[in-house]
Amino acid sequence: MTINLGPFTDQPKPVGQPVLDIDNLKVTFATDAGDVHAVKDVSLEVRAGEVLAIVGESGSGKTVTAKAILGLLPETATSGGAVLINGNNIISISAAKLRQVRGRDVAMVFQEPSTALNPVFTVGWQIAEGIRAHGGGPGGKRVSAKEAKARAIDALRKVGIPDPEHRVNYYPHQFSGGQKQRVVIAAALALNPGLIVADEPTTALDVTVQAEILELLRDLRDKYGTSIVLITHNMGVVADLADRVVVMYQGDVVEEASAKSLFAEPRQAYTKKLLAAVPHLGRHSASEGMVERAHQGGKVLVEAKGLTIEYPGRLGTPSFRAVDGVSFTVSEGEVFGLVGESGSGKTTIGRAIAGLNRTTGGSLNVLGYEMLHLKEKTFKPLRKEIGFVFQDPAASFNPQLTIGDCVAEPLIIHTNPTPAQARKRVGELLESVQLPASYADRFPHELSGGQRQRASLARALILNPKLLIADEPTSALDVSVQAKVLELFKDIQQEFGFAALFISHDLAVVDMLSHWVGVLYKGKLVEQGIGNHVMGAPQHDYTRRLIASLPVPDPTEQARRREDHRALLGI
């Protein structure tokens, strides 16, 4: 067990022999509702210098498998089988031995970089912590603080943090989200482990940042021969980075194949279904074949002119301008897609239209009401014309009320119906979002994520609103569920004919639904136009970068796009 050669050895390890070998892994959780078999029987192998992606939807057992690799399962779990890393069986070795293996032979990169770093220590200290805990030096000597710091600087340089000598003393909040994830990767690399387990490493990041992190991970494999187990639900990321793919479903491995052949010719029915559900930029565009903006004859429901929204700053700091001089219109029957990364102000605009945020400048006219002088009393009658679908269907229902009560709420507030009338109307609505009417008696936690989001749509539509605001309605859902909800949304929009403001960070999803698309960047609307024009021939630099960063679920096409992306950035 002398794999640890310190962080200075850059030779790739010999390809071919397995770094990680999982044999018949079983993990069972004791829960209140009885035993849950999270992982039933998983066997897989990761060879040196290979990126293995484990993909699957929520509940497939992919994260549990990743945690089992590092021995991070909670107390309620019982595991069986073997997880072999350098001859150590992680499942059965002692706690002291396990601590040695962690960091030295295998390291983990977590999903959310801002919570994976301790905010009260400098990043250098956090990287050095692992080095010093392992005695790191040759012959197991303790490492001096100075040497540990030197190694931390080295690790930061490896992951491409500029000016590492200086920035090693920075605190996590002084880095951006993407840089924080680089620091997390640097900490994982500090002891030069042969294997890195990355659990959704880019899910919390914006598309443009995601592209950089993927680039970095690819570099690690190519330059240092590090093997990576990549846990993700994003097929684009898989296509971009993985050499081999394992598809998991309900605790079992469904299919294992090289990335190229999996995307080109999936063998299992489940894999085929999964791949078909992934939104692919440029396919199924709602604005296909459009030459000019649709629905312009009708009434203008929302009109923003130079709209500005500021959040007041704390004492002594200037206020933060979330939305800066944005102008657009949404007409009757039109689906307006608003795209942008986090912090672009897209959600703020949606909330302002619904009266949840105050506007501070310019003009925002919603159904003839000027939102600049918003008074709840005078705006309330208009609320029945506006439906709102929230991002997280689990959190947007009161857990103590039945679905029927939740869906009926707008009706009860605005029209005061008899219980029988309300029940009938709720039944109709549930039917139209393809849920059985009997679901009205269920509680939110008894529905799956997709079912809840349908119920949420039913609630938004129960008063037949003229305008629907959907804020990232599918980003909390699995791909296959997302595909169905999007299809439903499209059908219902055509049937009811309401106008919609569809807010999302996912370009492919927006393109599938919207006739007219606006791109937000740092509070400014940098570009707007017909959906497939914006996606196909972006005019603004930022839009171009955004579209080029988006990985498509096709390894061959993605390899080509990656080259274009590099050219665009001038690397």
Partner: protein
């Protein structure tokens, strides 16, 4: 086309009402040591409640009885014979007074908690939801009350309400109100904190965008979700109420022996006896206090642990245990409970 993701456990709602009551549902999901603690607490508390309920049948004499058909009771008689736990210096039967004392304790708990819970919950909801200057003023007042030693507040209230001494009703009410003053800030704080957390939840926002009024949001959406921790605070506060009552009695602000039996008062009377080797007048009322407080605290603490999925013990999963040893699992962080499913 419908999403066929399996619907999660429906146990919660379909179970009969009785299984969903606070303590019973907790009992059903407890295992091992936690269940042992809960059962011990429930037995201690149960005996305490039964004693209070059947005090007239259990106690051989009244709480202020000094004589029977055979004449006056002897003073300071050792346990045994006619007086099971002996008599006090004033000639009261110790056993009878301990038994009757449980009734006073129950009355004070009920009165104190009922008085404080309503005010505390309503103030907490309004203050947390509306915020602004009202919230600030209420928080300052609550903090100011916290700054007082609670027994001092209780003494002041006892003097204000009843001049320090009084009948059963007046005494109980004085004790209850003084405890209420101390408890309202506790309920207020818990409910306010929950309300502030819930206020930012999407389901409250979704009620706002459909145009629900503030009162409707507070009563229909926040109230039920914010009050789930109340059984816990109730049991913990009940034991604190008994301690405060006993403290008041011990300091002489309790209830006169002629109007009700009260453990703290008896303890105070027993103080002078200890030096002359008369132990039974003090030990038994003291034990009664320990018994009751221990029982209620055990119930409260167990409920607290069982409410938290991260602290709740579970039976080891039966199958999949084919592995040699699960040290790896045993020493791992319990952080990811919610992500497990």
């Amino acid at each position: 086309m419908s999403t066929n993701t399996p619907v999660e456990a429906t146990v919660d709602r379909r179970a009969p009402l009785i299984k969903r009551l606070p303590v019973i549902s907790h009992f059903n999901k407890s295992v091992g040591l936690q269940r042992g603690m809960l059962v011990t607490g429930l037995v201690l508390t149960g005996i305490f409640l039964l004693t209070a309920l059947f005090a007239p049948l259990i106690a051989p004499y009244g709480y202020s009885q000094l004589s029977d058909a055979a004449g006056s009771f002897p003073a300071q008689q050792a346990p045994g014979g006619k007086h099971l736990l002996g008599t006090t210096v004033g000639g009261y039967d110790v056993f009878s007074r301990v038994v009757w004392g449980s009734q006073t304790a129950v009355l004070v708990i009920v009165a104190a908690v009922v008085l404080s819970i309503f005010a505390g919950v309503i103030l907490g909801l309004v203050s947390g939801y509306l915020g602004g200057w009202l919230d600030r003023v209420l928080v300052v007042i609550a903090d100011a009350i916290y700054a007082f030693p609670s027994l001092l507040v209780a003494i002041v209230m006892a003097i204000v309400i009843s001049g320090g001494q009084s009948s059963l009703f007046g005494g109980v009410l004085a004790a209850a109100i003084s405890i209420t003053v101390v408890f309202i800030p506790q309920y207020f704080r818990v409910i306010r904190a929950e309300t502030i957390r819930l206020k930012a939840e999407p389901f409250v926002e979704s009620a706002k965008v459909v145009g629900a009024s503030n009162i409707r949001i507070m009563s229909r959406h926040i109230y039920k979700n914010a009050t789930r921790t109340l059984p816990l605070i109730f049991t913990l506060n009940a034991s604190e109420a008994i301690l405060t009552l006993a403290g008041l009695g011990f300091l002489g602000f309790g209830i006169e022996p002629s109007s009700a039996a009260e453990w703290g008062f008896d303890l105070k009377q027993a103080l002078a006896d200890t030096t002359s080797g008369i132990w039974w007048t003090g030990v038994f009322p003291g034990l009664a206090i320990v018994w009751t407080v221990l029982g209620l605290t055990l119930v409260g603490e167990s409920i607290n642990d069982l409410n938290d999925p991260r602290l709740r013990g579970r039976r080891k999963a039966a199958s999949g245990a084919g592995g040699p040893d699960s040290t790896a699992a045993a020493q791992a962080a319990p952080q990811a409970e919610s992500r497990v499913l």
